[in-house]
């Protein structure tokens, strides 16, 4: 859906569901997912429908992901950091997490 205008910014290695993706310094988690062509970042707790980042400015809460073990972080507000582990969220939150 999106391409980078220029490969500026230092490469930052993050994993998404265990898979390595190439992010750039200055990316937020949500932007890195979009740039990597990951088409959805969670499924909803009500119907299980797939959702992707929508507003990218902290309003819509569609880009909720688990970042380094903390659930339901707003991906569009969290800058990427080397070694960061991002997990997409599936439906209802599992007990014990």
């Amino acid at each position: 859906m999106f391409k980078r205008l220029a490969e500026t910014g230092a490469a930052v290695a993050i994993t998404v569901d265990g898979r390595q993706i190439a992010a750039r310094a200055g990316d937020t988690v949500a932007a890195a997912l979009i740039a990597a062509g990951i088409d959805h970042c969670r499924t909803t707790p009500v119907s299980g429908a797939p959702r992707a980042p929508y507003c990218l400015m902290g309003v819509c809460f569609e880009c909720l992901v688990t970042v380094d073990g903390v659930g339901s972080r707003q991906g569009c507000l969290v800058p990427v950091r080397d070694g960061m582990a991002v997990e997409t969220q599936t439906g209802k939150r599992e007990a014990g997490r």
Partner: protein, 469 residues
């Protein structure tokens, strides 16, 4: 990086939001000698209009345009002013005594403020069309955010739909960046001209006129613009095509990305939670805070500046921020020298010219604000327009009561992306006005925080004794 533990327990002025209003306010107040802190939850200052102004990877200045780069001066002024500017700082609470709850990198603090300027800006008006929750459908503002901050440009089959100056600006920016747009679907009703016409002379004299015409020409020269009164995003697990039409005519267009926009509205959540009185603005179809000419709210010591005070645009936001800051300085440090208030007011007045024309011309159609049937209204709780309308028919009088029926507004976004739709639907269904129906009763925390963040709050001896036996 400023940590929560670096913050003082109290400041003369706390500014919430680092867009044009917040930056201008913080700079003026700090220079006049107020101890000033500015909190912004994003990784950098600039707000949405000047998003990533200090680190944008988009180096060709023509892509985002000179109006964007003007923000660099504001950011530099604020930085040089001596105000403490903290990014990545989420304000989750503000009460009428001006106690500010803020969280930075997982650590929370409660900060006392003698004055507070809320500069939380605007957000995009909800655009509830069938299929708007599908991956591949984004807000135009979202696409603009990743263009400014990360240099990301749409590269598949892309359709823009909606109306308003921001949509046309984004279209032009995407094209200048080398992106391709398959079509612009203009959803603004032609009959809007009837109401707008009376304000045309003012608009022609305003700077918006020449800029607007140039933008429209630039986009129309490269992209097909189709006027529509129906719009639908279709797909299974993601967007596959956009279905649109006018009258009996229906067309389908394959698409990877649909960008929606129908104007912006004040982001009222924090001000409402602080107890600031709000009123319905019928021209702009939104709630906005009730303010005096210095942007003071109904809560003593709390003012609201920028687009959060009612939509007026980025340059007006900076002037509003300055006026609110001058009021703060006069209240706390009357001997300090401040810029001439009358001159700032005159600048603000000039910025307001042409606004009425733009508002009436770009007023979104009823059908795009008040959806029907299975169209999702509440994205978080997946509540449909039919459910909202049926519940209103059952006797539900307002959005707060509706929570008990449908959970609508109780998801993580706290109504930010559906509040206006719910209010307007209830009003339409019950034959009353949005002013009468009202809005969500908002309470802190206005942003989600973890228990560990709350637990990180310093505990005073008296507080400890109150619970220990």
């Amino acid at each position: 990086m400023t940590k929560a533990s670096d913050l003082a327990p109290s400041y003369d002025l706390v500014v919430i939001g680092g867009g044009p209003a917040g930056l201008a306010a913080a700079a003026l107040a700090a220079r006049a000698g107020l101890t000033t802190v500015l909190f912004d939850e994003n990784p950098g200052v600039g707000g949405q209009i000047y998003r990533a102004i200090t680190f944008s990877p988009v180096k060709d200045r023509a892509v985002l345009g000179e109006d964007y780069w003007a923000g660099a001066e504001l950011a530099a002024e604020a930085k040089a002013s001596g105000a403490l500017i903290v990014t990545g700082a989420t304000v989750w609470s503000l009460d009428p005594t001006r106690l500010v709850g803020v969280s930075i990198a997982g650590q929370a603090r409660l900060i006392e403020a003698k004055r507070v300027i809320i500069a939380t800006g605007s957000l995009e008006r909800p655009f509830p069309v069938p299929g708007w929750t599908l991956p591949g459908v984004m807000s135009a503002g979202g696409a603009q955010t990743v263009l400014k901050a990360q240099g990301l440009v749409p590269n598949g089959k892309t359709v823009l739909a909606g109306g308003g100056p921001l949509m046309w600006l984004l279209a032009a920016q995407i094209l200048r960046a080398g992106g391709k747009i398959d079509a612009v679907l203009d959803t603004t009703p032609r009959k809007n001209w009837l109401r707008a016409l009376a304000h045309l002379p003012d608009f022609v004299l305003s700077p918006y006129f020449a800029k607007g015409l140039k933008l429209l020409r630039e986009v129309r020269a490269k992209v097909r613009v189709i006027r529509v009164d129906r719009l639908e995003a279709v797909g299974d697990d993601k967007l596959r095509e956009v279905v649109f039409g006018k009258g009996d005519n229906e067309r389908r267009m394959p698409a990877d990305l649909l960008l929606l926009h129908q104007g912006v509205v004040p982001n009222v959540n924090l001000a409402l939670a602080a107890g600031v009185a709000h009123a319905w603005n019928e021209r702009q179809l939104c709630f906005e805070p009730v303010l005096d000419e210095d942007f003071n709210s109904s809560v003593p010591g709390i003012s609201v500046a920028g687009d959060g005070a009612g939509i007026a645009g980025g340059t007006a936001a900076a002037e509003r921020g300055r006026i609110a800051a001058i009021a703060a300085v006069r209240a706390l440090k009357p001997e300090a020298s401040v810029p001439d208030l009358q001159i700032v007011r005159q600048k603000l007045q000039r910025e307001a010219m042409g606004r009425a024309f733009l508002d009436w011309l770009n007023r979104p159609a009823d059908s795009f604000r008040q959806p029907e049937g299975d169209t999702i209204v509440c994205r978080c709780e997946e509540v449909t327009a039919r459910q909202v309308r049926d519940t209103a028919d059952l006797g539900c009088e307002g959005p707060n009561q509706m929570k008990a029926f449908l959970r609508c507004g109780m998801g993580p976004c706290q109504g930010r992306l559906r509040g206006l739709t719910v209010t307007e639907l209830i009003a339409a269904q019950r034959g009353t006005t949005p002013a009468e129906v009202g809005y969500y009763r908002l309470r802190p925390p206005v942003k989600p925080i973890t228990l560990s963040e709350l637990a990180s709050l310093p505990i005073a001896e008296a507080e400890r004794k109150a619970v220990e036996r």
